[in-house]
């Protein structure tokens, strides 16, 4: 399929008629549509999607209501008509598809989708195709299920990462779409048809077996099982309904939270600052306590240095007194000796009498010594007093309390400065987020978490129920085989039919698995080739595919690369899409919205060189940050067939103009 022309009328920001011609050249097959953010690139992508399928999608692939699809300025002028006309070719046939909505005659201002009337017209080679056949014809050319792989938003490429997560709901959905792209549903539908036929055939077989006493019990068991199967199928359907509902609630909360991301970030900052402030305040309180404990003995530390000389002085004084006491004792002893000589004047050595002259000398000496002893007299109370004073002063000890308090004061000052800074920051942040209900945001986050758990539980319940259903199916097949072998049932047409449908169902089941494996290998090969051209890291060995079509990068040692960047994820996703396109469809356009957003210049250059090879037509919806017209275009200038620009008319209106 090749797009030729698109005519937009009153679609989203595009008021009035806009006409775009797509490049038809075989090598100059790239069309560039430049547009700033908010100007209408995604709306352009949606215009093609809506033209084909009557569906435009917003975030989380949610349908955009018709009231939002009609250009708001036109609507305010009471022009509620909106249309898309697509001209394209496919297998040498010329298609002209027109889709239009307008408000119903009796509606003054449309409020919901039901207030609009939709009309679709298709001409193939100028032959008008009637209503019911239109969808079939479109599905022949570009089935809606595979549209995500040729009409895609580059900013959502990261969702392909979910394919690497076992049991991820979004991953399962993408896997389903991938298999639809690859044609697996043909076999799945075949299997489902035979399962249905088999159930009907068994019912007939059971009716035929009513009269067989041997089969009667089996028939009854089969009937009970069938009822259980119906119940389980209903359970699965209910659970899946719930699962979708919960997922929708999560998506809604995510949308709301996305708008408040900056506020959440600020709230997080606020919480961290508050917690830091609390830690500092706790430390301040602890230090204040410590300071008071030191304060209790600080007076001793203040006196300590001054007291030391006093103690030394007292000790010295005490020593002098003690020395004087000793000296007096010596003098007293000498005086006592001399007194003895006076009392008995005989020389102890020669036993002769001591002459009077000598005795006079002794008397003089005694007087002299007594005078000296008198001078050395010490009052013992003085020594006791000094000792007591030394004891008292020795109780003044220092544990360096003063310096420790000074250190604490300095530390306290620093912490107080920190607190002032934190409080200023807190005031600033609180001012910034004052208009937001941050508690509500936090409640929403908590709710999202709860819903996430609920979703996980639902998912596991669905899986469990499916396992039970499968087991029941196997049990039914077994019972059916027993009935078939029962006397009187064997050879009956209902039994032959059951056996036939059972065999066919098995063939389809096996076929599905074999087809899946084969297609997966093919996708992996194509994707690996694309990856080797797109990546700037040439040592990578390639890509490895898992059973969900998730792709992992294999490094030069053959190991799976555990962590990969956002840019690498985008490259891998582009490789997967290329692999799917090449496996599923030989020809067709690719329309990419913002495909290069997360890539560095080298990867961007590789992608730009490779894109023209990905499809017969490549339509890139880009902003100048992704492709710099003055620098990047030289990489693939010879492949550009057409270039358009989205120009702003007003905040709610844009127009598309061709540029050189």
């Amino acid at each position: 399929m090749k797009l030729q022309e698109l005519t937009i009328y009153n679609f989203m920001p595009y008021k009035g008629e806009q006409n775009i011609e797509f490049p038809q050249h075989e090598t100059q097959n790239v069309m560039l549509l430049f547009g700033d953010n908010m100007r209408g690139k995604t709306s352009f992508l949606n215009s093609i999607r809506w033209g084909f399928y009557g569906l435009a999608v917003g975030r989380h692939s949610r349908p955009i209501p018709r009231t939002h699809l009609v250009n708001s300025i036109a609507a305010s002028d009471d022009d509620w008509s909106m249309s898309i006309m697509l001209k394209f070719t496919h297998e040498n046939r010329q298609y002209e598809l027109r889709r239009k909505i307008d408000k119903k005659n009796h509606v003054s201002i449309p409020k919901n989708d039901g207030d609009f009337e939709e009309s679709v017209g298709l001409k193939i080679n100028n032959q008008v195709i009637t209503g019911d056949l239109i969808i079939n014809e479109i599905n022949q050319v570009a089935p809606e299920e595979i549209s995500r792989f040729f009409l895609f938003d580059g900013e959502l490429l990261q969702e392909y990462e979910n394919l690497l997560l076992e049991g991820d709901v979004q991953g399962e959905k993408i896997k389903e779409h991938i298999e639809q792209t690859l044609g697996v549903p043909a076999l799945i539908n075949g299997r489902n048809e035979f399962t249905k036929l088999l159930t009907d055939a068994r019912r007939i077989q059971a009716r035929d077996a009513k009269n067989s006493s041997e089969a009667k019990t089996h028939v009854e068991r089969q009937r009970v099982n069938e009822n259980r199967q119906i119940t389980l199928e209903k359970d699965i359907s209910d659970l899946e309904f719930l699962q979708r509902d919960v997922q929708k609630q999560i998506d809604d909360i995510e949308d709301q939270l996305k708008n408040t991301e900056a506020v959440q970030k600020k709230k997080h900052e606020l919480d961290i600052l508050k917690s830091t402030r609390e830690t500092i305040e706790t430390q301040l309180a602890y230090d204040a306590d410590e300071q008071r404990k030191l304060f209790q003995d600080i007076w001793k530390d203040v006196l300590f240095k001054g007291v030391q000389p006093l103690v030394n002085k007292l000790k010295s004084k005490r020593d002098s007194l003690l020395n004087a006491t000793k000296a007096k004792a010596v003098l007293d002893s000498k005086i006592s000796e001399l007194h003895k000589s006076l009392e008995m004047p005989i020389c102890p050595t020669c036993t002769q009498n001591i002459p009077q002259k000598e005795m006079d000398g002794i008397e003089k000496r005694i007087i002299q010594l007594k005078a000296e002893a008198e001078l050395s007299h010490v009052n013992f109370d003085d020594i006791t007093e000094i000792n007591s004073q030394i004891d008292n002063l020795s109780k003044i000890k220092s544990n360096n309390e003063g310096n420790r308090v000074c250190e604490l004061v300095a530390k306290q000052r620093k912490m107080q400065v920190s607190i002032i800074k934190i409080e200023t920051d807190l005031d600033d942040i609180e001012e910034e987020i004052k208009d937001f209900d941050t508690d509500q945001i936090m409640r929403q986050r908590a709710k999202k978490e709860r819903l996430g758990n609920q979703l996980f539980k639902l998912d596991s319940d669905i899986k469990e129920t499916k396992v039970s259903l499968n087991k029941l199916g196997e049990a039914q097949a077994h019972i059916s085989a027993l009935i078939s072998k029962s006397t009187g049932i064997q050879g009956q047409s209902s039994t032959i039919r059951v056996n036939l449908y059972q065999d066919l169902e098995t063939i389809f089941k096996t076929g599905i698995n074999e087809l899946r494996d084969a297609l997966r290998d093919q996708v992996a090969d194509y994707a690996s080739n694309a990856f080797s051209e797109l990546t700037t890291e040439k040592t990578y060995a390639g890509l490895e595919i898992n059973k969900n079509y998730g792709l992992s990068i294999i490094d030069h040692t053959g190991q799976v690369l555990k962590e990969r960047s956002a840019g690498a994820e985008q490259i891998v996703a582009l490789s997967l899409i290329d692999g799917l396109n090449k496996t599923a469809r030989k020809t067709g356009p690719i329309v990419m919205d913002t495909p290069l957003g997360r890539l560095d210049p080298k990867h961007r250059s590789n992608v730009l060189k490779y894109l023209p090879k990905m499809a017969d037509q490549v339509i890139l919806l880009v902003h100048e940050g992704e492709i710099d017209p003055s620098r990047d275009l030289s990489n693939f200038a010879d492949r550009i067939g057409a270039r358009y620009q989205i120009e702003r008319v007003s905040a709610t209106e844009s127009k598309i103009v061709r540029s050189n």
Binding site: Y286, D289, E290, K293, I298, W299, L303, L310, N403, C406
Partner: protein, 130 residues
């Protein structure tokens, strides 16, 4: 000189001491702070700083608010001994009378500093300037 058994402060300084105590102690609703100062702690520091700085305090100009037992304030007679040994007490004043004057002067200074700076300049009092 007969030493008094009780000493104290003038009513003004006693009031200032109360306020200093409130300032230095944790707020009544504080959950994290447990250590509390008592009047003696500030009183003794005022005396110690007065001794260290060799101050000559004036006599109390008002009747002393004699609330402190000397035996509790200075159970080991440490302050008494220091003053006594230093000989800084005037002859006409008892040692505890001199200590009382030092406390009165010190507490008034503390209070003055608190009013001026919003906090006690502990670093100025305590930092070893040598």
């Amino acid at each position: 000189m007969i030493e008094p058994k009780r000493i104290g402060l003038t009513p003004l300084a006693a009031q200032q001491l109360d306020e200093l105590l409130v300032e230095l102690n944790p707020a009544p609703d504080s959950k994290n702070e447990t250590a509390k100062l008592i009047k003696f702690d500030i009183y003794r520091l005022a005396v110690a700083l007065g001794i260290k700085e060799n101050k000559s305090p004036p006599a109390l100009n008002d009747k002393s608010n004699t609330v402190f037992r000397v035996s509790e304030l200075d159970p080991d007679k440490t302050l008494f001994t220091v003053v006594d040994c230093l000989g800084s007490c005037p002859n006409e004043t008892s040692i505890y009378g001199y200590i009382e004057q030092l406390a009165e002067q010190g507490i008034k200074e503390f209070y003055e500093h608190l009013l001026q700076r919003g906090e006690l300049p502990l670093t100025d009092y305590l930092l070893d300037k040598e």
